[in-house]
């Protein structure tokens, strides 16, 4: 009897521990952003966004290095890092949020207009943020996450000099896409 209780207790603890480990991972998430003005459209893409999706907790977290954004013009890329986002000081943008809807993401299906509520940490500013996303859970357990939202530069203290005000929009459209597959789980063990 005693032994059985002990076993049960250990099982309980272990199950809690494994529950917390129920997560999906990707290192190749994509974030693109666009600034549109009548004079110039600027677009950049980062295809090395890391993300962790804790399915049970409905928690999703992203980490994007600002140096990994690629622009059409290399000069723009340097100016972006040096002048706007100061990536020497603030190397990455981070987001962590929780899905608000009462849905079971272990079941396959398409979940549109899901609300993800959390905080964004970018350019030294931490702000609450709520975005709308769509999540597709495939039968093989892989998960597709996509979201689009707008960021106001002034919210994150990114200054646009008056000289280029006409060329850079104050509102930046951001697209996030991540594809998590079950096989990628073990990638967490990989180091850079």
């Amino acid at each position: 009897m005693k032994n059985r209780t002990l076993l049960l207790s250990i099982l309980m603890v272990v199950s809690i521990a494994t529950n917390a480990q129920e997560k999906l991972i990707t290192r190749t998430g994509e974030i693109t952003f666009k600034s549109k003005t009548p004079i110039e459209n600027i677009e950049a893409k980062n295809s090395q966004v890391a993300s962790i999706f804790l399915v049970d907790k409905k928690t999703i977290a992203f980490n994007a290095l600002l140096r990994s954004f690629r622009f059409e013009k290399a000069l723009m890329e340097e100016h972006f890092n040096e002048k706007y986002v100061h990536s020497d000081k603030y190397p990455s943008a981070k987001f962590e949020g929780v899905i608000q809807e009462d849905i079971d993401l272990k079941k396959s299906g398409t979940y549109n207009d899901v609300t993800v509520k959390g905080t964004m940490d970018f350019h030294g500013v931490t702000k609450p943020m709520e975005v709308s996303a769509s999540i597709i859970v495939s039968q093989d357990g892989s998960v597709n996450f996509a979201s689009m939202f707008l960021i106001k530069l002034e919210d994150y203290k990114i200054e646009v000099p008056s000289l280029v005000k006409d060329k850079i929009s104050g509102k930046i459209q951001v697209n996030v896409a991540a594809n998590y597959t079950k096989q990628e789980r073990d990638l967490s063990a990989l180091s850079n």
Partner: protein
């Protein structure tokens, strides 16, 4: 009773750890997951030219830089609108990034010899910070100048070899911080044929300069070429000194400068003997840089 106690204890210990450490753990793990970019120091200078001379900045792979530089005549008064009435020299250049480390260029300079230049810039080592550090960026710049103007006498005009100069520069730079970057550019020019037999074929000059970034888009730059006094016509007072600004506007960089030089290619301005900066022999000039992706 004991196992139950252990269970509770275990639960108590494990739960808070999980609850509390979740956020930072998650980001710690994410940090480990994230593919790192190279840790090269970027934006040492705004442009591939410090002022007149080359900087260690490079034209990246598949990028084309088109640059037009002008220099006007001496700023002496309103009579010639402070020099702007007379365009003294124009320099056009195309520079293409074959890779991130190899750049090929072609340039044409009006004065003094209607010079065509073929150029090569190699980015040999980059300044790095972070996990592996390296203190400076090192580049090589080489050029072959072909002077296409008419020479007299006719024999001189027919001498193809005599129209050619070779330029070699080692560019060493360091970004000292967000604002300050410095560069040293030892320069060796070989002239196949000189104007007078007493003049040496080899000219040595040391470029020193830097920039101070005082707003995100504007920096003040200074560049001075100290030419070794190895020839009779040499006058140290007339070594090329240039002070100016980089103004960056998104994809463009404008450079505005004040200089005693009138030549805009290194094969000439490094042996430039055209005026004394501190005796008000100052010309105004500017360059526009436009980049394209090819």
């Amino acid at each position: 009773m004991k196992p139950l106690l252990i269970t509770l204890l275990l639960l108590l210990v494990s739960l808070p750890v999980q609850l509390f450490s979740q956020d930072s753990d998650l980001f710690d793990e994410l940090d480990k997951l994230t593919v790192q970019d190279n840790n090269e120091v970027i934006a040492t200078f705004k442009s591939t030219r410090l002022m007149l001379g080359q900087s260690t900045e490079r034209v990246r792979k598949s990028q084309l830089h088109f640059r037009v530089s002008h220099v006007f005549s001496k700023i002496i008064g309103i009579d010639n609108f402070f020099g702007l009435d007379n365009l003294n020299n124009m320099h056009l250049s195309f520079e293409y990034g074959l890779t991130d480390h190899i750049q090929l260029g072609f340039a044409r300079s009006n004065k003094p010899d209607k010079t065509y230049s073929g150029t090569l810039k190699l980015s040999l080592l980059r300044q790095k910070s972070g996990k592996t550090t390296f203190p400076i960026s090192i580049s090589y710049f080489g050029g072959i100048d072909y002077k296409s103007r008419n020479f007299a006498p006719e024999e001189r005009d027919r001498d193809f070899q005599g129209r050619i100069d070779y330029i070699n520069q080692i560019l060493l730079s360091r970004k000292m911080g967000e604002h300050l970057s410095l560069q040293i550019s030892p320069t060796w020019i070989h002239r196949n044929l000189t104007d007078a037999s007493s003049e040496p074929n080899e000219i040595y000059s040391i470029g020193v300069g830097g920039r101070y970034l005082f707003s995100g888009s504007t920096s003040i730059n200074i560049e001075y070429f100290y030419t070794l006094p190895t020839f009779d016509l040499h006058d140290t007072k007339k070594d090329a000194l240039t002070i100016g600004f980089d103004i960056e506007t998104g994809g463009h960089v404008f450079q505005l400068f004040f200089t005693n030089a009138f030549a805009l290619h290194p094969g000439k301005f490094a042996i430039n003997q055209s005026g004394d900066f501190f005796n008000r022999d100052i010309n105004f000039g500017f360059s526009l840089l436009r980049t394209f992706k090819i």
